[in-house]
Symmetry: D2
């Protein structure tokens, strides 16, 4: 209950530090009888893996996952699924000099004053490396949702620093290191190269989508589907904003425009982002998140040490100049975990969901 | 566990429908020994109350709260505090004709397909009226946080429809019906009058702030303080976006700018919004939320009935043309509930918080 | 999370004090679409009600329940069901003199040192009166389980003080004030009369049974069905022991005897009490509980006051000389709540339970 | 939420199967700053370990624990502590023939009908081997409670089959394989030898005690300390009964006897077992549990296979003829976990416990 478990019925308990012996998670509540192997999980882990292009951290780890329990002869048994990823490429010496220093924009200061002790190696517990077990757990959720409802997840970058990225097609996303929905990413490569040379970093905006969502997921009054999505996304390292559907643009919309009309053929628009009253409509769920610039930068910054003395900090080590670049598969995983949890919660109270598409189909 | 309980240690279980006999909540986990009376709670309820200006719903209810338990001779005993508010001004006949119709932008459609039954009177469970018990519970949290740490909460409107509202001073907020931080609200009154005449509605943006927050609140990896704030805010009726600190603007910021420098005198800026690594820094917590335009409008809309037949819907009844107008006290209450819960969680694991201000003070 | 909520998916949040304005509970997670009225609940409340014979407390209250929410036109809507029972026959003056005294065997001492404050009127929160909302919630669970699976609950007294009560037939139970399964209760009436004259009290042993239980309820490793039953029963006021099936007698049994054989016609015995590995077998669930003698007695006892000074305490007020007498309907309600919760948990993970009787039927 | 997490604030999530690659647990909520090493944990694991005498299973595993996270340079950091124990001496071939058979008294039948799939190797998830991670987690709880309050735990056997074991002294307990509080265990050794020769098994009764418990632990109305102890103990494999204090004997006690008198020197007796109204009194907590005879026996039993056909089952493999023999350290661990959890819950709501001994000391 110290905040390391995600979900209510499909729970994922995360453990580990960036430079400890291992990271991992325990999934409790997975339905029995689903085929599951390490390969099913490895695919998404590889999409998130560092070291795949010059625009991300050069830490190079296979992030090979081991299933320790909960699967018997290739099928889930309904018992906890423990997933283990050994850390293999730690360079803890890089962090010796930050042991007593609070890096601006980092969790150093808050961990120190909360716990009175912190593991400084690679950011310890606050490292984005801890999203790997989340991606692994998300892969299990994705598989079940795909088999049960045909639900699919995808995410792309829609802004890099101050550069908006126009939407061309989802097809381009897997073919460039930015998860950008465009054919030509030369402009973004130059942008990143300049940034890296300057010893600086930038933010990103990511769009996340789920398709083939059953109607009826979400538990008002408080555990609304959008509330839990916001919780999941804002909890992702470096996220500072979350929007559902029209998001902040809805402030300037009129009620006559924003409220999605219904026709016998389905909804006429999707300003709601697939959620009304905290419950899924069956339309696509549309989420957008803001990711702040990486705090680990080479440029020297003013800070203080644990004794309150002024120091200058310049973060060495291997870091992503834009942590948003690798955020797409993580955001997908989080959305999948939220939907999975609500699918189980729904059938607990209301019985099994019999259809992904409601009787009145959802257009767009 | 059907989503009607807010919080982990300071839990608020909400019940009631807009036009049922009563609404209310049960607060479990309140520390014993705090002076508490109905008057402490009524103050915030009155700030949220409908019928106070021509810009909000004309439903007129005193929303008088009764404490049913948990208080003995004026002090909390540590046992559950049940709060009851009787509904007194229901006009359920206004809703007879929407019983079989899905109003665009409303929860009618999703409740129907989730539960197979819904209470249509005044929106039933999905009505914003159910925020009243939340405000009541928030008042209890505010009182404890104020006495323990000196924490204070305030909120104001920063945008009304397409009109941005400049920040002049917090002092103006209590003196106008918009919770606007400006002296002259004539422009907003004209804007609202025109909108009402047009039978339309608009959205709003609200800024929420907590001051005097102890350092160390928040439970990574998942139950981060910002994650729980996003959950709370996105769960509020009509909210479509949540930002912490620099929010979506952080995407275009550089790392050299965004990461708040530390000096012996404190933080040099507050782009983080008072939260780093999911834990409070002791600086002001800054939140911004987007509220969509009210879905209940007089203008006719295309929709369908429960049999899938096309119908035209025009919502009668008494509604807020901008639900954002009354959102400020609710958003404050939600922020207070999140901080209260995390204050108790913090001392469970780390022992009592001995200071509101960390050894290295937080400036700005 | 201060311990006033029972259950995980079918949650019952209890509130109130013995002599406060009202007691009640909020049920969250009830499946939608079930017919429910106050009459369905009142029946069990009346079975538990005080003042029905000379062997129980003479406090006389109708314990009339009001449904405040969650039911629309006679059917549950899936939203929280708030139940309210007003207190009407408080005589708080009876308790003035125990305000600063710890009564032996009572919670006075522990509440005082835990919370630093306590409501002494009628035992305040620790009064057995707070079992009334539990009985009310249990009636809702019983109704759903009966409609869904045909599950039935019953309980009887098997020992009164040192007098064992032989089992004659379940038919006698509703026809005497002891819930005793015998036709002639004259011996127990004399026993109680003597005890009351002596200003003393005695304990009781209660047997609780559920029939028509679906196979598969229970969540190992920890939330086993028997673990949750033990939690429920031991949490009932005055209970000091819980047995499942053969209970303590199983210590002296041989493995060749205890392990219930299976035959194509079903289990050959039921030493397990209907639970194996923490999961229901489909056989009858058999529970036995020990209830200690009432602590509120007229005979003077040695004690101390809150300053540690010795005092003599003799409890006035109106008390049950054997609290076990009214325990049968409460124990049934608790067992029903446990099964209800596990029925929902089961279908969350494993899908809807399609049959109450497993393919290999459970005999005995 | 499928029942594999123990505790509310000090949570222990257990994973693994008897013959899978590994078993273990993740502890979340451990206070930061406590010295902790594998050696602290191994001690209790070794007390529970199989293969230490001829009276327990001959499966021989070192049960060496590895700390994967949550400890930095020898101190807990407040982040999750993952503990891993590799399985090394599986003989899965022993179980091939029970794959399609339900062993009497075992969880085979219920797992099969609950999940539709089960891991039969060594009992899979339902094996008592899964108590090892519980013992490991309990060691962490014991250490914190000992350092904070001086709390100590001990357990002994009080009955073996039909043989009651008289209490001589706690000193004898560590010096014999039965955890018996007597100097001479020859009678029990002969008893066990005869039983083993007969291919049969027997039950046991275990007494568990905590000393130096702070007053005030326990959360009424439902999460009472005794309720949670009953939950913990009844959830232990093979337990069929739980008593607190006078237990079932309290039924025949008079109120004048059972209610422990208070004097300025403390309580005059401890029939309550250290708990009143669900809250600890500061006296010793006294628990007694009944453990059924081992279900895995060599003697042939009548059963059926998964197709309902009659079969004869005789359990091979290596089993404890009395699972109660190794239960003492496990029961201690469970009691420690309950107290640890309630210690944290207490300080969340009521602030730090400042004294282990209440102002009015608890005698006996």
């Amino acid at each position: 209950m110290s905040g390391n478990t995600f979900g209510t019925l499909f729970t994922v308990t995360n453990f580990g530090e960036s430079h400890g012996p291992a990271i991992g998670c325990v999934i409790d509540g997975c339905p029995p009888g689903m085929a599951l192997s390490e390969a099913d999980i490895q695919l998404d882990l590889d999409r998130r893996r560092p070291g795949t292009s010059r625009h991300v951290t050069q830490r190079n780890e296979p992030d090979a996952v081991e299933i320790l329990s909960g699967v018997y002869e290739g099928y889930t048994t309904g018992t906890p699924i423990a997933l283990l990823i050994r850390n293999t490429d730690q360079r803890s010496k890089d962090y010796g000099d930050i042991l007593q220093t609070f890096r601006p924009g980092h969790a150093d200061y808050t961990y120190w004053y909360k716990y009175g002790i912190r593991d400084p190696r690679g950011g310890g517990r606050s490292s984005a490396r801890l999203t790997a077990p989340t991606v692994a757990a998300g892969a299990v959720a994705k598989k079940w949702l795909a088999e049960k409802f045909g639900t699919q997840f995808r995410a792309c970058m829609t802004q890099l620093g101050e550069l908006p990225i126009p939407f061309e097609s989802w097809e381009h996303v897997p073919h460039n290191p930015f998860f950008a929905p465009v054919a030509n990413v030369a402009a973004y490569e130059s942008y990143m190269d300049a940034l890296r040379k300057a010893g600086d970093s930038c933010g990103a905006r990511i769009r996340v989508q789920a398709q083939g969502v059953p109607v009826g997921l979400g538990e008002p009054l408080f555990d609304k589907l959008d509330a839990d999505i916001a919780y999941a996304m804002m909890g992702l390292n470096a996220v500072k904003g979350v929007e559902i559907g029209a998001g902040f643009a809805s402030v300037a919309q009129r009620g006559t425009v924003h409220g999605d009309s219904l026709t016998p053929e389905g909804f006429a628009s999707n300003h709601s982002g697939g959620i009304l009253g905290g419950i899924s409509t069956g339309q696509d769920i549309e989420v957008s998140i803001a990711i702040k610039p990486t705090s680990s930068i080479l440029s020297p910054r003013d800070s203080i040490d644990i004794h309150g003395k002024p120091v200058e900090v310049s973060t060495k080590g291997r870091h992503d100049p834009c942590v948003g670049i690798r955020a797409a598969p993580i955001a997908e995983a989080l959305l999948a975990l939220v939907l999975m949890d609500h699918a189980l919660r729904h059938r607990a109270q209301c019985g099994d969901v019999v259809q992904a598409v409601p009787p009145i189909p959802a257009a767009i």
